[in-house]
Amino acid sequence: MAIAVSMTVNGKAVGAEIEPRALLVQFLREHLRLTGTRVGCDTGQCGACTVHVNGRAVKSCLVLAAQAQGAQVVTIEGLARDGELHPMQVAFSEHHGLQCGFCTPGMIMSAADLLQRNPDPTEHEVREWLEGNLCRCTGYHNIVKAILAAAQTMRGMAKAAE
């Protein structure tokens, strides 16, 4: 039996009739065609499907779309503002925080959540935080470098805004 779900995705109100067993990642990719969010392992290990639900990073392959009813959801497509990349995206580009790029959307969404709660993480804290995201190319070194650089940029932006 289909059920109605509605939520806000990247600032836009969306809704659909879906099966109760539909995962949030299926809703995003297959109904909304937001394919930036990846399905990697589909078992909740790899974090490639990480999106923000009400401001917190979650694995969208471990959440039913129905559970996100009424939620504010942000995907990798929603991070850029007015054509300007998010500082985390810029840092991943500048520091080559990717090899094949498959894990990148999940890495960026996860890292963006880290900086929301800890604007000045140590390298160790960044590495611990990334426990929920796997890079099969093992490109962690540059990923960590990119996140630390983005943290610095964003602290500078926050200071300039004061």
């Binding site: 039996m1 099966e19 109760p20 067993r21 078992t43 290990q45 959440v63 880290l114 426990e131």
Partner: protein, 265 residues
Amino acid sequence: MYAFDYHRPASLAEAAQLLAGNPEAKLLAGGQTYIPTLKQRLAKPAAVIDLGRIAELRGIREEAGGLTIGATTRHAEVAGSPLVERVIPALAALAEGIGDPQVRNCGTLGGSIANNDPAADYPAAVVGLGATVRTSKGRSIAGDDFFTGMFETALEPDEIVTAVHFPKPEKAAYAKFPNPASRYAIVGVFLAKTAGGVRVAVTGAAPCVFRATALEQALAQSWSAAAIDGVTIDASNLNSDIHAQADYRAHLIKVMAKRALAAAG
């Protein structure tokens, strides 16, 4: 996943009624274990009852000097709570070590203990602190009686965990040797000095969380690493699997107990 009906009750009473009226229904809390279970078709519920919107099941408050934590409170909420950090910091540290950040943003206390995975972290805190599990049937179940076997609890089929009350210990700490992939405990030891005596709860090592009574007696006599050294852990009832042999787990129990002791002070 097999198809199922979906319910999103707004109150505990409504959830309890739905569950009582449908023996083939299952409860969904954070879903970090149950959704993978459904995806693997290891469960075929006729209906899923989502507890995520029941305000009365969520939240952390101080009660009788200890803490009462609602069943659907997320691990990240416990880990980041200044109240938990002040009253029982060992509990905040334990929650901070569960899974990974994304899992901690969804997974719940009630889900963890109702599932009673043999390697889960929270059962060690519930037993180690002598906590009490409260349910939709008005029962208060002692932590010692709640966990009855592998993935088994004292809950009745139509009973819902509503909250857990943790008394404040004099000292407590949790140390675990995590599986590097899953972060589940290969061995986890929760050690506490409480008004009722020393309690040592072990998770990950056996089919169900248990109290290491020999360690409790030794630490009651002398709160010291030397006391732990003097204890022999019986490996005969411990798990042997691809992660660790029983004798290694027996060894790790003492190592984790010493680390917890050092952290508890």
